[in-house]
Symmetry: C2
Subunit: 193 residues, 2 copies
């Protein structure tokens, strides 16, 4: 079956976001990254900054932080509310038409749709560090630190809010090592799905 | 860099072996599966049957069995000898020319070569069970049992003899879900590498 929805999960520094953007452009699919954040902001009333930070990342401390955030009378925290709304909106945009969705647990949210290809982009440490140094103008040590922290926060968030395990092959239709294959090859392969 | 050597690791029932055979045929690469076993038999003096069973599978009991097999004065068991020889021969055939190697921890053995693409083929339970039932003329329960046992023995063998973890995305250039993509699509993607 043709894959009209492509979700892209990625390690920090692997180029996954850029790959997603190029795939959407080449296929003429709607690209959801910032656009998804704006949509969530409109529907929830939450700030873009809060959604960007919280909709895909665990707090920078640790997973237990989720237990201590402010909860309402039903025991629901703003993080749970954001997660529920995010999930609802991702289901809606999947109905609207062909699209590429980067991050935000979209692979887990849309796991039952057979018209989806779920892609995970990872890479080798040296290539990822080099990319982060260039993109964010950081030293090697700073880049390594940023990478570890971002991947850790993504993993904790994913494992907390889904039944899956972040980066476990089983969740994904295809996983690609962008350092070994090159960014262009990854784009070709995904467009060919 | 062009990938002139392709290693294929696979879950039982995912069609990985068949995919490897088709890829080799289409690209005109040498296909190593039975042929590799014959080569190892020639060089080691071990029987084809023993190599087939032991070179990729843990004993059907458990990992501790490795501690109890007969060892020589240097503490080496025939399993260790086979593993060392298998590794040496896989390095040799990689030097000889373009090829596809199925199983036998070849991805781990050749992990440092940049002219290799390491592929893992997995699949969804129902599709794999169906394939095993048809191929081996088994009932559904027998197929499930066989699948669990074979994957378990492959995993234990791989984790014992390599530094990696069987089926962990990180070891592979690309992983493909053959149930979601279809066998033909998997062949296309690998040939395009």
């Amino acid at each position: 079956m043709e894959k009209r929805i492509i979700t892209i999960s990625r390690e920090f520094g692997s180029g996954g976001r850029y790959i997603g953007e190029c795939v959407a452009q080449r296929l003429g699919y709607t690209y959801y990254d910032k656009k998804l954040i704006e949509k969530i902001a409109e529907e929830t009333g939450l700030s873009r900054k809060f959604i960007e930070k919280t909709g895909e990342y665990a707090p920078s401390k640790n997973i237990f932080a989720y237990s201590f955030v402010g909860r309402d009378r039903n025991g629901m925290a703003v993080e749970d509310y954001l997660n529920n709304m995010q999930s609802k909106i991702i289901h809606e945009i999947a109905e609207e038409g062909p699209c590429v969705i980067v991050g935000r647990c979209a692979d887990d949210i849309l796991q039952d749709r057979i018209d989806c290809a779920h892609v995970f982009i990872h890479g080798d440490m040296p290539a990822k560090v080099k990319r982060i140094m260039e993109l964010y103008n950081l030293s090697e040590n700073e880049a390594k630190k940023r990478m570890r922290e971002m991947d850790k926060r993504r993993r904790i968030h994913y494992n907390y809010f889904t039944n899956g395990e972040w980066g476990a092959m089983r969740n994904y239709t295809i996983t690609l090592n962008s350092s070994r294959l090159g960014i262009e090859k990854c784009i070709d392969i995904i467009c060919g799905l």
